[in-house]
Symmetry: C2
Subunit: 455 residues, 2 copies
């Protein structure tokens, strides 16, 4: 019955092409025979958070390799790379002390890469600021000896929540380094989320060239905690903040990118790369960031196999290690590719969550973009309509040449920062169909690049 309706539809609509049929087949298959949800269940619930250098990361490498081994690639291998190894240590602790003996606990999480506080904790007065620039205006006088509290919220009016993130995250990434220059002894950063809740959002910071003696500890505070601290500071400017974290940076560890390759039947030297990152933060299980991207990537050949599509160009699935705190996997992949003079004609990354795909962003020149826009019509039946110029992804960005196209999957971003880098980025926050539609969207775009090439 369904097939009849479908064939009838083809007759009705004379512009209905073979590509429409293949792409319908891809989406049907992604919604009925995807392995993404099952793989992500294992990665999230059996392995869990997998920070670079951890045993969990190693298990994720071995698990994904063994699954890829069963998909009929020509070759699956581990690409060695040394990664930073930072460990959180025991659960962090923080409180606001409005007067001696009167305290209020607030949830914090050490920022990735941060140094520890003294083992008894760090206690000091707090100065609230809303930008890095404000540090300069306040000067050493007002900051010296204090804990700097960065409290500029993400702005709700940006439809793409990643934009709001990008406009706020300097506080988390650079706050400790900059505040240290004015004599601060620690920093507390409002969590990068649009929600008001009790989950601190971790994420990386950098100390740049600061010598070890100048590195001060940094932690994220939940948005409820930040609002509490801010409101108490207004009536008790002399309150003290105490926090304790025992994180540390261990020596670099051996790790790996996981790479799978299916040689193209006609143009084996033209590589199409699909990737995500295998590492995640250690709190939560990294289901959206970036377990989803890992299983989207793995699903590509699963789907092609099921629709019996034989790629003309070489497909590579790359599961990068260490996106979160170093990008070492990305750097290593690029270094080896360059040495081998590999020609990546197209690369797509999924690192924006397992939510319903809305479209893609492309890093490309105008001529290629015009060609790509002709494919937009194939995605309209799936309400995937966003084809815009923009970034691709942190891991693949360094593969850009004058002659290729990079892309990023663009899922609905409204809920992404509800979970990002928190203990609630877990498998139960994944919707099976939305995850599977991501696999379908990527496989469809790869099909078009594979069939038509770039030029």
């Amino acid at each position: 019955m369904k097939i009849l309706v479908f064939i009838f539809f083809i007759f009705l609509n004379s512009t209905y092409s073979q590509d429409d049929v293949v792409i319908k087949n891809i989406f049907d298959t992604s919604l009925t025979k995807s392995k993404a949800y099952e793989w992500l269940d294992y990665l999230s619930n059996q392995i869990g958070g997998r920070l670079s250098g951890s045993l969990e990361a190693q298990r994720a490498i071995e698990y994904t390799k063994s699954e890829l081994d069963q998909l009929g690639f020509d070759k699956v291998w581990l690409q060695p790379v040394m990664v930073p190894r930072w460990v959180r240590g025991p659960k962090e602790f923080a409180l606001i002390e409005t007067e001696p003996g009167i305290t209020f606990n607030v949830p914090i999480a050490a920022l990735g890469g941060s140094v520890a506080t003294p083992s008894v904790g760090l206690k000091a007065n707090v100065i609230e600021v809303f930008s890095l620039k404000e540090l300069e205006e306040l000067g050493k006088d007002k900051i010296d000896g204090k804990i700097v509290f960065f409290n500029r919220p993400m702005e709700p009016e940006f439809i793409t929540t990643f934009t709001a993130y990008g406009r706020a995250v300097d506080q988390r990434a650079l706050g400790a380094m900059e505040a240290s220059k004015y004599g601060a002894i620690g920093v507390i950063v409002r969590s990068m989320t649009l929600r008001i809740d009790d989950y601190p959002h971790t994420g990386g910071l950098t100390y740049g060239d600061l010598p070890a003696s100048k590195r001060i500890p940094g932690a994220a505070i939940s948005t409820n905690g930040a609002d509490k601290l801010s409101s108490l500071l207004k009536i008790k400017p002399d309150l003290k903040f105490l926090f304790r974290q025992q994180c540390k940076q261990l020596p670099d560890a051996q790790s790996y990118n996981v790479i799978a390759e299916k040689r193209g039947s006609e143009f084996p030297d033209e590589i199409i790369l699909v990737g995500g990152h295998l590492d995640s933060w250690d709190i939560g299980d990294g289901s959206h960031d970036d377990g989803a991207g890992v299983v989207h990537s793995m699903d590509l050949l699963n789907i092609f196999n099921k629709i019996k599509y034989v790629p003309k160009r070489t497909l590579r699935v790359v599961l990068y290690i260490n996106e979160e705190n170093g990008l070492r996997g990305s750097l290593k992949y690029k270094e080896v590719s360059d040495r081998q003079n590999l020609n990546h004609i197209f690369a797509i990354e999924s690192d924006a969550g397992g939510f319903r795909p809305l479209g893609f962003s492309f890093t490309t020149n105008n001529d290629d973009f015009i060609k790509i826009l002709e494919w937009k019509k194939y995605f309209a039946p799936y309400f995937i309509n966003v084809f815009i110029k923009g970034g691709s992804g942190a891991d693949i960005a360094n593969l850009k040449t004058d002659n290729n196209v990079l892309a990023g999957l663009r899922p609905n971003s409204q809920r992404y920062f509800d979970y990002h880098h928190t203990e609630i980025d877990t498998f139960d926050a994944i919707n099976k169909r939305e995850l599977e539609m991501g696999s379908g969207a990527i496989a469809s775009l790869v099909y078009l690049f594979d069939k038509y090439g770039l030029r």
Copy 2:
């Protein structure tokens, strides 16, 4: 800073119009000053499930009227309408008995409008079918005295899950009536969802013209329960199913549509209607179905007030009663409108959940649709790109004339049937930003219809 960037963007893009600015203002306002989430919190958590004729429905009528009273409408009133009153009674109960004394409990929910089982429950052999047509093929011989188990799943390959729902729901709506004609004594229907879980999904059934003596009880079974029953039937075709429900139909009750009107400053006789339905099923709190539509509708004037937009045409917010089991509110509104010769030039309904809006479907002629498509560009910055012909909504559909346009908000439908008509359609399943974007999308479309009219 933001304003400067925005102005710069206007200079860059010479086609940026005043409408772009107003619509940006509407979306900004919806994401920062919407009251939708706060209202829905009250409706869901303080009032809860509000089936027609219940005290909760009456409280919802009074609450929404009192909130609308504060928004500066010219008039807010209750439109009387008699509604059916069906009550579920004590929690339903069901089990599969594979042999005497060996039983397995399964979750069920009585279908709305169903009669009760005998007070000790109804126990019989089961016959599994996959369509209404199959009843005819099996005939009275195979069906008489049995419980018919309708087990055709919703089909996952339809991107719009409402399509899959529409193709499966005949089993729930008509199954009891049809099975009764072949001598069945009860029906159990696989829940209308694409998930495999433990929540039964209620929803209405009809007995048509069947006399009371021929009305047999119908209940929904969770998808896990349905799969269990189906698999056990394969090895134990003679198993028995027992279920007990004590629901009943009480006399019709007095109820009301809630209507608010703001007279147009230039064309007061041209009405633009925005609506959703105030009643919900009794299990869960009806946050997505259709609390979201109620607060989307109420948010319209809140947003217009905040951006100081004075409508040229008359705006009506209509919160319909009894969508779920009778559509009496809709019929009454239509009847009174016709008597008053009201001219609804445009009506939009939100009854597809509080998820991220993807666009709108329109019931309209081609000429008007072509005009409407010119407005699509204003929604592109918000990744709202779906402008299709299709249905509007169950409550407003009867307002269609040759001279007006009806529309339905089309949110992402992937998760809708995870919650629909279940105990987990609750406020925690609502994402604040996605809900608010729905308000913004509706207000933007209403703004365009208000400013330009239809012709």
